[in-house]
Amino acid sequence: MYVAVKGGEAAIDNAHHLLADRRRGDRSLPAITEAQITEQLSLAVDRVMAEASLYDPSLAALAIRQARGDMIEAIFILRAYRTTLPRFGVGLPLDSRTMRIERRISATYKDLPGGQLLGPTFDYTHRLLDPTLSGDPEVPEPSCRDGGVGDLARVSDILDGESLIETEVDDDAEPGDITRTPQEFPLSRAERLQSLARGDEGFLLALAYSTQRGYGRSHPFVGEIRIGIATVEIDIPELGFAVAIGEVRVTECQMVNQFKGSAARPPQFTRGYGLVFGQSERKAMAMSLCDRALRAAEYGEEITAPAQDEEFVISHCDNVEATGFVEHLKLPHYVDFQAELGLVRRLRTAWQERGDVAGGEEGDEPIGEAAQ
């Protein structure tokens, strides 16, 4: 006799114990520490902080460890924690001009005030597996410019002086907050940039790539990429002035795009903007290409490609939402499936009866919706 399946609770507990076991792996090896992850897998930590929208390297490292290195799972864990945090204030806008520069390059000028600064980049490394990294080899101290580099004019400021690039005007509007107000399309650019900043790196990368291959082409040049440490300041009403509360590493990308002009606007370069927590040029560049593509309507450009479609891009760029909904398909759906089974059986019976009468054939008809 059939007995309904019971014991979900015990099964879940056992699964979690097994997960903990696999996470720890071979007990004869030392467990990795969050400090090791923060120091030696720092770009993984940066990605988790960026897409979780929470700047806390040690918590991000903990999330990576807890997630067994699954980045989207780690992002999700850190996001779920972030959402419970109280808000005690709003920071002043970061000033990327005065940040302590670790890397700064421009593809539009051979040389410029402050120069090109390569910084800690994979560029020009030969991607050959390096067996000497195994173990713990001695690493010599790097040589850096004394005192660091700060207060470098941005390439966009240089172009701005000649009115060759559109001027960004501060309209004094309070920026929206996508984590506190429900999105309503069309979004403001501030809200759009917030969504892109926490959007999935891979998704934005693919969309950015598609614009380069002709799906919403925007003729981009890297005006400037800069990576460095920016000071976070907050206004304290009781004091009447702003105080620094900490520092964050950010990557900023200013993409310069051609614009031939329209009846309302003169020919001018336009901007795509990317700003990401941590060191992530790939993400910042992809973000700036997507930002520019999404401004198509602003410039009266024809919207023909996915990357230019705000509702499409923003509704699908969040990997925590996407992974949840895709993976929910593994939850039981047998009530709906039963309903579909019954329907398909009835339709098949009707189809066969029609065939018996007409003796002819009919094509299969698609029916029903995908599982929800």
Partner: protein, 282 residues
Amino acid sequence: MNAVTYNFAYLDEQTKRMIRRAILKAIAIPGYQVPFAAREMPMPYGWGTGGVQVTAAVIGPRDVLKVIDQGADDTTNAVSIRAFFRKVAGVATTTHTAEATVIQTRHRIPEHPLKEGQILVYQVPIPEPLRFLEPRETETRVMHGLEDYGLMHVKLYEDIAHHGRIATAYAYPVKIAGRYVMDPSPIPKFDNPKMTMSPALQLFGAGREKRIYAVPPHTEVKSLDFEDHPFEVQTFTEPCALCGARNVYLDEVVLDDRGGRMFVCSDTDNCESRRAETGVQS
């Protein structure tokens, strides 16, 4: 590192207040999808985060919670959500429909009739009934505003033209109080008639899509149909093989690989109660 602590029912009070305002608005405009600033929850989007947020906003320490998925109290996700509220709210839980004050559900409405004072919270994946006809939110919002549901009727009509019947077996669209067309969540259309004039409050939460909507008690819920093709529900030829119930929704259980099948109640609580009353052993 900061100490990690959580409020009663996980969400902070400001967030609960925001959600309650959305719920009140939803009750005031039956069937209308109210946008709300859904939070990340500690379970994945698509796994009931909307329902969990609604439950967290309405539940109090003296409530008794029941959680079902596919009609059953012991499916893994129902177990997980029930355990979550036991942990973060310390509320009493039950599997008995009649004893619960708040019932969170995915894909079913309990067979036992609901009564006044009970709240049924539905987990909703895609709140927009027009989404598969028109993917753009900007468009569907206008269609609801203008009460322009022609597209939906054309879809249902095309079903009849192609298949001789409406080929929607679950998430069957309904019209609330003669105004808004609403997605009842992916419940089988078998359950649709239970929604109309129900004395219980029905709340719908879609976390990923950030929408809340409601059917207040004693509100008309009409499944869309045509005069010559009236709405009809699924029927089963056999009764439940365990409790003998008829006119309930059944799951088809595969017994072997030689075509052996049996049909048993999808609502496990209803099935168990009936067997306890009649003394039938499974």
